[in-house]
Symmetry: C2
Subunit: 676 residues, 2 copies
């Protein structure tokens, strides 16, 4: 895989040189004039765009903010088709947006301090934008400015039919242009040089332990940076349960479900009877319950120190303009005093509580219904086949499975649409809040889909050997499938199918650099990656006491997962925009909730385990008392988890001090200010 | 009781006139000169104080802060013994302290805004301290300034023996003087006129519904104001469960435990057999579980709007000087940059986690041990008495009870000392944190003491009729005892024993006003009041499903409780200092935790109830399944409570907007500021 890195090094021209320097629009501000302009974002226009529309858009991009523009730099591109605009940003616009976003930057004394435009000269590297802001931040700022292009009253889009081209006052211009088909896509540009360096340090070099998290964050931005940090942290956190699982499986007398599984794999449908010994069972259960809390608490600390390190501790999203999709009646924001669309919070709460929650519940019910229908249909088909025994009835045996798969798929597709539209309709003001609500909805459904069968086996059928078999096969099959789809296939495609195309393009580098990026598919987002981790975490914390090798398999999976994800995001997709965020958002909550559910499921599984039952029978303890004892244990463990979570501070002491410093300074500033 | 109000109106001289105007120390600041100085705080010195010590202390009080003084006004008092100093505060000191404490005050546009000394002219009433700050705030500020009198290097206390009189650098002077016996007490003075008005509006007038919460807060300060607001809110919140209890007891067929209790009261030891019907039982249980969450969520909203109304939303305790009892190595506070004692947070956490928690656990264990010993001893004594039947063995029957009472009392006393010393040793920086940790410790123990017997009956003996009897008698007896000790006894003492003394004092009003206040006992704090409410809440939410009339009895109790508490704090004790606080602190958590425990106890009680068992037997449901069903119900209810708590915002929308306005302004101020 090192060949990729070498290839990258082969042509060290950065994309900067691709564009003719002279064609950039002029900056209005003398301090922003620079020799080289860095192309940051590409606006992909429709093929049949009118030159007048393109000129209008370019002028809109370059006009200062007070005249309703974005105060950015635009370049018409050097493609003969003329269907792109390349956008960059001058220094002043970048600095002002840095303050608006509430990013923290290095002060002259080395502290991370919330950036202030007035006080800019006291910040380090403030003259060199390439050093001062990361590439991802610069690109996000361009998007941020483009997103807030608002129409003036009675403005029209030239070169677009009257029916589509009239803008309402304060309408979002970019959204309108996308709707009218003028803009096909807006995406940030790769910087070949930096990307090659990043790849070498990340996955194609000799580096095995650790990832260059700072470079990842700088190149891909906050969300991606946090995902890989979490993946890294989580992989290391898997080491203790993996060791415990190995010890329990191979060293403890009586604990040998590993051996059972090996038999099963080798010999096909061998019935496995040897479950782990009671003590091993319990050790594993209690360990995984406490482990899940400890992992999440320490991740919070890690997360807050990363967020300080990357200057994301003091984000001002609440006070910024609302997200582009937000709508409401125009009014004065009571907090900031700015004119913007307003939407009352209670109305949003009502929509969430009275419509979204019941609808999501309904879909979850549909999943359960589907599963019940499947089991029912299977029993029916089996009965019918036993009665008649014909070829037709034999074929009918497959009908329930097929119907269930079709049903689940359709339901999933409908649900995805519904979830997106519901979240749009809830009308969240902040992008992060939108993301969290959307993620929660999809997450619940996906999780339900994944775990319904396992829960059914564990709680309804109460069949531990089946659960163990199912878990082992799920783990192994999922991993094989993942490895194939995530690593092998893309690698083959990239090497053998895309490579000739690339070669051809490299003959004419100046024109085709941009086109190469345009041909890549857009990045599908991190949802699938996170849900994979969450489902893993679920296998481990909910059911691992029946199959102690889970952690070992997961650890192996994650080590390759890191490289595969890195390869994917660097090579196979367009660069995504990535908003500055200060944590992994709702995923954190999801992992924590799973930790608490794990207590219930583990206590239940212990109660079911045949050895515990034998033990009770031998000791003469009644079934009623053993259940009561299990409830007591469950409640105590939940209490212990809550105390642990409470006792471990969510941020390291030094981060707390830094955060309080910022708060103290802003309180002092408020005290010193005399308002007119 | 109206006679008290009339008496107050009879002599309308305020305490202000008691002191000779000319004897106040001079203010250094020209803007603070005023015609009348209001005496705020009294420093009670020891009887044999040297005039030189008193002069030294007065000069220390009046010297400006930059010279190590408190910048207050002192008056030597006009008592012939000369053992008091009366302290007041000039305008500038009050205003600066208002900013330090982070109090919000009315801005010229009517908003509540964090006070800023620089911007003082834009605040309303800033020239009239009596209007601008409440009496409680002015008095607290005096205490705040006195508390932070720090010794300069090598300072000595004149007139005090060498062994006690040497001060270390930055030692707390007031603490040192109290240790050396020079200062006996420091307490705020009553303002007779205001107090009389307050009493009339509060309890001695015709007002029956509601309390003058704003005046209470203004006169007695934040903690007292919040206590009475909570009492008020809680009393109203008792109305729905009281109505439900009445309906279930008297209207529903089969539910008639109320009648049983009446019989019991009338006829002595009548066995009660009629328990509420299953459905009533369940309605009561589910209702009280959801009710407890709703009450606490709505209280949070009420609390935050009160805290905005009283300007307590933005307290700056974290950034102020540490509390007087705090010690550590001198160093630079990394947040504020001030020289002060420092103590690492992790060390405090370690002390709490490794010493305090186990010790508290040990004492709770001792309570359980005592109870077990008591039951064991009782069984032994009973056995012995049955065997021998002598007079001696009959007397021995009482031994276990007596031993248990002595044991519990001794344990309680030891525990109180240990709890106070532990909390001191934990070395909390902020007063609120100290209070919260101390309250938590005492609270846990007291609560355990109160409920251990009930839990023992409910969970170990599983004897519902006994539980019902015990609960009813506890409720009735506790109320009678409370009414006696809190209302009747103090009223009699005040009317018949103190009155002649008062008459005598009123012959010589100028001298004896102060002495009268000095003779009152110090206010014992609100702990006992809160714990009474918490125990009530516990009876109601934990066990009320076995005795539905609980809420009715509590409601009756609370209506008189409000008047009794008001009378007590106004008439029977010295006025307490009361720090500005923004909520009821740890009590809130205690009530919420109780709400969750109530789910467990109610589910358990339902499981025990004989009608549920009959119902199961009739329906042919096995004991195992009914337990599993109860667990399911418990988990679902806890989930519902958590969702409810999450869905109801903790502060009303308008408070959130006000709070965000403050945050936004301080962020803006930070942005506009250019630091040197």
């Amino acid at each position: 895989m090192t060949s990729l890195g070498d290839k990258g090094e082969g042509h060290r021209e950065t994309t900067t040189k691709v564009l003719n320097q002279g064609s950039w629009t002029q900056v209005s501000c003398p301090c922003c004039v620079s020799e080289q302009v860095e192309p940051l974002v590409l606006i992909q226009l429709s093929d049949n765009i009118q030159p007048v529309t393109k000129r209008w858009l370019i002028s809109l991009i370059e006009v200062p903010e007070r005249d309703g523009g974005a105060a950015l730099l635009a370049h018409p591109g050097e493609d003969e088709c003329g269907d792109v605009i390349v956008v960059s940003a001058p220094r002043c616009t970048l600095l002002r947006a840095t303050e608006d976003l509430g990013l923290c930057k290095k002060y002259h004394n080395g502290d991370m301090v919330a950036f202030s435009y007035n006080d800019r000269d006291n910040f380090r590297n403030v003259d060199d934008m390439q050093e001062f802001l990361t590439l991802a931040e610069r690109q996000y700022i361009v998007k941020y400015e483009l997103d807030f292009l608002r129409a003036q009253k009675g403005q029209k889009i030239p070169g677009v039919p009257e029916s589509q081209g009239v803008l309402k006052a304060r309408e979002n211009i970019c959204q309108k242009l996308e709707k009218a088909g003028v803009i096909k896509d807006i995406f940030p540009l790769h910087d070949k040089q930096r990307l090659t360096d990043l790849c070498r340090n990340w996955y194609s070099g000799k580096q095995i332990w650790g990832q260059p998290l700072d470079s990842i964050q700088a190149y891909f931005g906050g969300t991606v940076g946090f995902y890989f940090s979490f993946l890294d942290f989580y992989t290391w956190a898997l080491v203790p349960p993996a060791i415990l699982g190995l010890v329990l499986t191979f060293l403890l007398p009586g604990g040998g479900s590993g051996a059972g599984v090996v038999k099963e794999q080798a010999g096909g449908v061998v019935e496995v009877d040897d479950s782990p010994s009671v003590s091993g069972h319990m050790v594993q259960a209690v360990f995984s319950m406490l482990w899940s809390t400890l992992v999440m608490e320490f991740w919070k600390r890690r997360s807050s120190s990363l967020s300080h390190r990357w200057g994301l501790l003091h984000l001002a999203e609440r006070f910024a303009e609302p997200r582009p999709g937000f709508h409401g009646t125009l009014g004065i924001n009571p907090v900031t005093g700015r004119l913007e669309p307003l939407f009352p919070e209670w109305q949003r709460q009502l929509r969430v509580g009275l419509v979204s929650v019941p609808l999501v519940g309904f879909f979850l019910g549909m999943v359960v219904l589907g599963m019940t229908g499947f089991y029912h249909g299977e029993a029916l088909a089996q009965g019918f086949h036993q009665d008649s025994g014909s070829l037709f009835s034999g074929a009918l045996l497959y009908l329930p499975s097929v119907a269930h798969i079709v049903y689940t798929n359709m339901l999933g597709n409908v649900y995805r649409t519904v979830a997106m539209q519901l979240t749009e309709w809830e009308n969240h003001r902040e992008e992060s809040s939108f993301q969290n609500h959307h993620t929660t909805k999809v997450l619940l459904f996906t999780f339900f889909n994944y775990f319904a069968v396992l829960f059914h086996i564990a709680f309804y059928k109460q069949d531990l050997p089946l659960l163990r078999k199912r878990l082992a096969s799920l783990l192994i099959v999922t991993q094989l499938v993942n490895q194939c789809t995530e690593v092998v296939v893309p690698f083959i495609v990239d090497r053998f199918f895309s490579a000739p195309q690339k070669k051809q393009q490299e003959d004419d580098p100046n024109v085709d650099k941009l086109r190469a990026q345009r041909s890549l598919p857009p990045f599908p987002g991190l949802f699938a990656e996170y849900i994979e981790l969450l489902v893993q975490f679920g296998y481990l914390s909910l059911f691992s006491c029946v199959y102690p090798l889970t952690a070992v398999l997961l650890l192996l999976n994650n080590v390759t997962e890191i490289r595969a994800d890195a390869y994917k995001i660097c090579k196979l997709f367009r660069k995504p925009f990535s908003a500055p965020v200060s944590n992994i958002g709702v995923w954190q909550t999801a992992f924590e909730v799973l930790g608490f559910v794990s207590v219930m499921s583990n206590c239940w599984l212990l109660l079911l385990s045949p050895r515990v039952r034998e033990f009770c029978l031998e000791g003469g303890i009644s079934g009623r008392n053993i259940i009561l004892f299990a409830i007591l244990v469950e409640h105590v463990l939940i209490l212990v988890k809550m105390i642990l979570a409470f006792m471990i501070p969510d941020e390291p002491d030094w981060v707390r001090i830094k955060r309080e410093q910022i708060e103290f300074h802003s309180m002092q500033a408020l005290g010193q200010q005399v308002r007119e």
